[in-house]
Symmetry: C2
Subunit: 412 residues, 2 copies
């Protein structure tokens, strides 16, 4: 939780955090400032002290909304620094950071870096500062960063925000089902009033609209894919594809709060009209694993244990898995789940990148999403909910939506 940050800094021997980049769609910054309309800002926090938010002069009112102590970049005379640096913009930036860090008395020790920015700019800037202040050590982490560790458990306010996104998500999924089933069928495909086939592009446009109506964004896109595409887990679906009866549709939707806030993540698999036996059998296997895993979740268990368990269950049912063959593109080909928060994928991890404390634990919010994929048979099935581990250790899906496979069509 956010309130753990100082303690985590202590444990990891981190003296300061430096978060850079925009105030929106930038999880580390949003975590510490809220969603602020800042094009470029820096937040620096010394261990045990309140952070300072550095901002452009024109964005002072937006910066102030964060409630944090703020300081304007203009105080460092950026134009003068560019002159002093002979027009070298990276050098000018290094000089500005030097002043900011010195002012905050951060001239040695370990500084952890965060924030979505250009890779080249980040590398050159922090390499430059490190050379200018050799007693300073910049720490860059991957999936196991201090902030992701703090985010590993959510406080009540965060859970409520994720729940609200869950509510929006299931409203939009229900709206999508209604929309599909309201279409007429002609020669086994859904058709519009003008007789033209309904396409995945049409459906996706509607989904975007329903999300916008509810004030949500989907910066990471969505998956709405049918038949062979549904059998490639991260194929997002082909806009020109038509909606044919009896084919699996994998619908994976992961919207976030406007400006890049908290996400929700949900997947359903649908067959329009009917499910062929082969598809139904595949669905039954996924559904059984989904229900079994959800029922078995309990605090204290290391998340990768559930990945093993899912592999056990799928292998018992005769499917290849990523455990039996790490590069398989057939059967169960991915991880069972991932944490959800300000990042669509965050801790706890269920795979090889998991750390010791990637456990099911009170306050964690994560997906469970078993799936089976058979590209050559043109079918794929995935079911996914986002669940929260309550303070009492009980597991709660943060939004409810039926798992049914078949959507009835053509009844009118």
């Amino acid at each position: 939780m956010k309130s753990d940050i100082d303690q985590l800094m202590q444990v990891r021997n981190i003296d300061a955090l430096l978060v850079t980049g925009p105030g929106q769609h930038n999880p580390a910054m949003v975590y510490l400032t809220g969603i602020a309309s800042l094009t470029q800002a820096d937040l620096i926090k010394r261990r045990g002290e309140a952070p300072v938010l550095f901002h452009h002069s024109m964005e002072r009112d937006e910066a102030a909304k964060s409630g944090l102590k703020t300081k304007c970049f203009d105080d460092y005379q950026p134009q003068e620094l560019i002159k002093q640096a002979g027009g070298d913009l990276i050098e000018a930036r290094v000089m500005r950071y030097q002043k900011m860090l010195e002012e905050m008395d951060i001239t040695n020790g370990r500084v952890a870096l965060y924030g979505k920015v250009d890779a080249g700019e980040a590398f050159a800037t922090f390499d430059g500062i490190q050379k200018a202040i050799p007693a300073l050590e910049f720490i860059g982490e991957a999936d196991d960063s201090l902030l992701l560790q703090a985010m590993l458990t959510k406080d009540e306010d965060e859970v409520e925000r994720i729940r609200r996104m869950g509510q929006i998500t299931v409203e939009v999924v229900a709206r999508t089902a209604e929309y599909l089933t309201s279409h007429a069928v002609c020669k086994d495909i859904l058709v519009k009033k003008n007789g033209q086939p309904l396409t995945i592009g049409d459906v996706k446009s509607q989904i975007n609209l329903w999300l916008a109506e509810r004030g949500a964004e989907n910066p990471e896109g969505m998956t709405f894919s049918i038949a062979r595409d549904a059998a490639v887990p991260h194929s997002s679906g082909n806009s020109d594809d038509v909606l044919q009866l009896g084919k699996t549709i994998v619908y994976d939707i992961y919207p976030c709060e406007a400006g890049g806030g908290y996400y929700y993540d949900l997947t359903r698999t649908w067959c329009l009209g009917y499910a062929p036996d082969q598809v139904f059998a595949l669905y039954e296997d996924v559904h059984a694993v989904f229900e079994t895993i959800i029922a078995e979740l309990k605090p204290g268990v290391h998340c990768p244990e559930y990945q093993k368990r899912a592999c056990d269950l799928f292998e018992e049912r005769g499917h290849p898995t990523v455990r039996s063959n790490p590069t398989t593109e057939v059967g169960y080909v991915h991880r069972l789940g991932h944490g959800v928060g300000l990042n669509i994928h965050e801790r706890p991890w269920f795979g090889a990148n998991a750390k010791e404390d990637d456990n099911v634990q009170p306050g964690s919010v994560f997906t469970i999403e078993p799936g089976l994929y058979y590209p050559d048979k043109g079918m794929g099935v995935r079911l996914e909910d986002t669940v929260w581990v309550r303070p009492d250790g009980k597991i709660e899906a943060l939004a409810e939506y039926p798992l049914d496979l078949v959507l009835p069509v053509g009844k009118k």
Copy 2:
């Protein structure tokens, strides 16, 4: 232009480009791959050769859509690398990059880095690779990067895409004007049918909806601010504010293609019902400068010259400017314009960061956006169009919308 990249690499003595990060909302990646639904990818291009796109196994179909040569991360056995690195995820990543680079025979020379990623991850990863392959030098650039130089001029296809976003933008602005003027007035503020005041939050929700209906996104948000907020150029507006007659509304809208493609940027200033003399005088000053600058734009002129010209014109009219006082928050407080493309702000630059070739030139697309701000008087005015310099050197606004200040209300 994109076709200049190899030549720019030659001039800058860059042997390879390495672009990292997602396939969406990541301008450098989108520039070279199109908008692809990739959660994490790497693109490596040697000078004079076609790029290779490295992707996750599950995203192979999305990667293939780019039409580029592709290679799967799984080929480097990521789980094995994590083991070899003793669980150090950054180290495992460094090892993967080493293999990828060696395979492409990039073991010395200068490699320019791009792509939106976590600052800490980027710093630690590329610092690690540089240490592992000392003959390799990673180059990070700021606003003057090689790719931004390529983007400085647009080809026909890019201009058409920006024009299409311009068309969407003016449709939405027209829709916004209709929406506002369709409301009743009660005690000098706009009211809804239920008698409640219309708020800026209401208006912004509608704008988001109209953008979504047209398949556009606005990941950078928008400005719709009134009165004092309108006098703080980058205040995005307060959702709870009501729409009072006779106050300036600054409406700055900058949507992009879905998935993080090309942007458009436009600002209008409106007064509902009437404009007080003081406001009208301010508008007249901005309007005159806007028209003068647009008329004076011609190929070969350094963009910062127009910033100087705008300062001359505003000072002649008695306003403080950023030239007379670099930290002024009153009068003309920002830059005259900026390039628009896959980044909402890109070259040509109009400020101190401008390079020699930040000229008005055929193929460049940029905004012209003079403004005047008086927070204490509760008023601000800005007018902005996105213009293209045609191959024949003529200046063309890529979308047309009236500049009128007053929106008539309460006529029903």
